[in-house]
């Protein structure tokens, strides 16, 4: 018999578990993914123990399978997060989130002279892996370090 595992947050039957979220980012992720709009049950766990990272947050969304595209948005604030799809209490897939090449509408351009800070424009950033200047704003064309770009 498998040893019983005590759940601090109860297991979900169907839906999505976002695991390995850096500690303190769980609530931000709920807002970033606009999880409230679906009116599903969402459970947040904050400060769980993690073998790999020491502490972590967890977000569970019942009866909603997030697509990789949706989940990848969180890579900017939670690069270590994993996306787990649960069906009938079984995990059917697990993948790491990956920052998409084009990031639309999540980030605020740090350049005060950029049009996105003057008019209602959806921001758009291109992400590239080379060097430390990762993020390029589509409008003002400036490059920024990922750590210098704030989430809106």
């Amino acid at each position: 018999m498998k040893p019983l595992r005590t759940f601090k947050v109860y297991a979900i039957k169907n839906g999505t578990v976002i695991d390995h979220i850096p500690e303190g980012k769980g609530v931000e992720i709920i807002d970033l993914l606009r999880l409230r709009q679906w009116r599903k049950i969402v459970t947040v766990g904050i400060g769980f123990s993690s073998k790999k990272y020491g502490k972590k947050d967890i977000v569970k969304i019942e009866n909603k399978e997030l697509t990789a595209e949706e989940a990848n948005k969180i890579a900017i604030i939670a690069p270590t997060a994993t996306l787990n799809i649960i069906r009938n209490f079984e995990r059917v897939s697990k993948q790491n989130v990956k920052l998409p090449e084009v990031i639309e509408g999540i980030l605020k351009c740090p350049n005060p002279a950029c049009i996105t800070n003057h008019e209602p424009v959806t921001t758009k950033f291109f992400h590239d892996e080379t060097g430390e200047l990762h993020m390029r704003c589509w409008y003002c064309e400036r490059y920024f370090k990922a750590t210098d770009v704030e989430v809106m």
Binding site: N111, A113, C114, I115, L133, W138, Y139, C140, E141, Y143
Partner: protein, 305 residues
């Protein structure tokens, strides 16, 4: 065949080598043979929310030389933008009155946004410190005209490389064509990291210098820009470097025969007047080339060539 009809001219980053060569070849055609009447019944809206002399005049002249007409802002201070209208709204209105828009605005990315809301082509005449692509095309036209090629040249870009938007776009374009770049500037006004990052990504060759003397004998092009006193945090530093970047005949004693000096103008004191009469001075012809390049861009984006 490159198709430019309805295409926006926003940033040098939107153009391939093939695109650029097509623009330069078209400009050469206009320089060799004027085409009055080509843009008859077409209207250019010239929206300079920021002051401009050369860019604005050369666009308006180009449109009229091709038989088109121009509607323009008399003064940005009296326009609706001064009343607080957004760029997007201004463009949505103006595009109904014209066939093509050239605009200059101090906010970076304003031309990109304009292109997204307009059905007619937008030509960026400068968006703050970001892009000024038509200047880059006329710079490239002048280099091609004097050197017969854009590949394998030794080009010095000199002066204020930190804030000079024309130097960033030109470096990018020449890097794409495979010329070797020599960036000459005071330490505090060096080429920004993001430009060098792009050049490295495309494996362009470049070196950094503080004094031009040593590299003069190998140069094909010397692209001078203005160094503005107000850019220096410390006026003492400005006094130390200001004379280093002034071109005099003395600096030109060991240059190659094909060597040419370009400058986006206006010059203040970067090029001594004595240089004007040497065979190396090409900045006034360069400014004149702006007309043909802009004729080409208007005809191409309106699908008339």
């Amino acid at each position: 065949m490159v198709n430019f009809k309805n295409r926006d001219i926003i940033s040098i980053h939107d153009f391939s080598k093939e695109d650029i060569m097509h623009i330069l070849k078209t400009a050469k055609r206009f320089k060799a043979a004027p085409a009055p009447g080509l843009l008859k019944n077409k209207i250019l809206a010239s929206l300079f929310f920021e002051p401009s002399t050369r860019t604005r005049f050369s666009f308006e002249s180009a449109m009229q030389r091709l038989g088109g007409s121009v509607i323009t802002l008399a003064d940005a201070k009296t326009s609706s933008s001064a009343k607080g209208e957004s760029v997007a709204d201004s463009i949505r209105i103006v595009e109904k009155y014209c066939d093509v828009i050239v605009m200059r605005h101090s906010i970076e990315g304003s031309a990109r946004l304009a292109a997204e809301v307009s059905n007619n082509p937008i030509i960026n005449g400068g968006d703050g410190a970001n892009q000024h692509p038509t200047q880059t095309f006329l710079d490239l036209f002048s280099i091609l005209e004097t050197q017969g090629k854009l590949k394998g040249l030794n080009v010095a870009i000199v002066g204020d490389l930190k804030y000079g938007r024309t130097t960033h776009s030109l470096a990018y374009a020449l890097g794409m064509f495979g010329s070797r770049l020599h960036f000459v500037s005071p330490v505090s006004l060096q080429m920004p990291n993001h430009v060098m990052h792009e050049l490295k990504k495309m494996k362009a060759k470049f070196t950094i210098h503080q004094h031009p003397e040593k590299i003069m004998p190998k140069l094909d092009i010397f692209y001078a820009t203005r160094i503005q006193k107000e850019r220096f945090p410390d006026p003492v530093e400005y006094e130390k470097v200001k004379d280093v970047y002034i071109i005099t005949n003395k600096l030109l004693t060991k240059v190659k025969k094909n060597f040419r000096i370009l400058h986006p103008l206006p010059r203040v004191n970067e090029i001594n007047y004595e240089v004007d009469t040497t065979p190396y001075a090409y900045y006034f012809q360069q400014a004149n080339n702006g007309l043909y390049v802009r004729e080409a861009l208007l005809a191409l984006t309106l699908g008339k060539i």
